[in-house]
């Protein structure tokens, strides 16, 4: 499977602090995604990227920003974390072939207290 590394794997932070999650891939996939997973909601798309410096909003983008300065890295930033952003965050990548699968990282468990 694609080499996708998410860091950190776990993080506990306080309300109001900035938080950055990193997704690093070694497969040169063009498309990268950030999802959050909460009970009863499956995975919800936060932001995605279709190339270096090309990003777009997903279903639940409020309170989140992203950056992709290199093909291999996709950063998710919570400018001022809130308790509602406590969740498991998954990064995923995809090749440019339409029906190819998404490759997932192992997830980041974020707790905002």
């Amino acid at each position: 499977d694609a080499g996708i590394t998410q860091s950190p794997r776990h993080k506990v932070t306080e309300t109001g602090t900035p938080v950055t999650l990193r997704c690093h891939q070694t497969e040169n996939h063009r498309y990268m995604y950030w999802y959050r997973q909460d009970p009863g909601h499956g995975l919800r798309l936060i932001h995605y990227s279709y190339g270096v410096k090309d990003t777009d909003k997903g279903e639940v983008s409020d309170g989140y920003s992203v950056s992709r300065s290199k093909t291999e890295d996709f950063l998710l930033t919570l400018e001022s974390a809130t308790s509602s952003q406590t969740s498991v965050y998954f990064c995923a990548t995809k090749t440019g072939t339409q029906n190819e699968k998404l490759f997932f990282g192992s997830g980041t468990q974020l707790s905002v207290l």
Binding site: Y31, Y33, Y35, G40, H41, G42, L43, R44, L45, Y48, Y50, D56, G58, E59, F90, A92, K94, Q98, N99, K101, L102, F104, G105, S106, G107
Partner: protein, 113 residues
């Protein structure tokens, strides 16, 4: 509002029973994918359905794509405890671009021995 609604949300059945999971949307999808997710891991692709009306079989699992490409179903015959997990449908609505992948709300299946 999540564009892909799955039903049922939870399902607990005895080993050997049959079940069907539904994935519905008001949007048209060029293709739909089904994933299964185990606790603490990212989703893993089961199948991709591309053509309206298409039926694909994967051992005891049968996947169908609706004629109008707005819905899909997953049928499991003679369920086994190893089928336990979270089942997710996913796709990119044709109105949102080819690569804006969203996920359904999820169906959590538990098969009892």
């Amino acid at each position: 509002t999540q564009l892909l609604e799955q039903s049922p949300q939870f399902l607990s059945i005895q080993e050997g029973e049959n079940l069907t999971v539904y994935c519905n949307s008001s949007s048209v999808f060029s293709s739909l994918q089904w994933y299964r997710q185990e606790p603490g891991e990212g989703p893993v692709l089961l199948v991709t359905v591309v053509t309206g009306g298409e039926v694909k079989k994967l051992k005891r699992l049968t996947f169908q794509f609706g004629d109008a490409r707005k819905d899909s179903s997953l049928h499991i015959t003679a369920a086994q405890p190893g089928d336990t997990g979270l089942y997710l449908c996913a796709g990119a609505p044709t109105t949102s671009g080819t690569y804006k992948y969203i996920f359904g709300t999820g169906t959590r299946l538990k098969v009892l021995a």
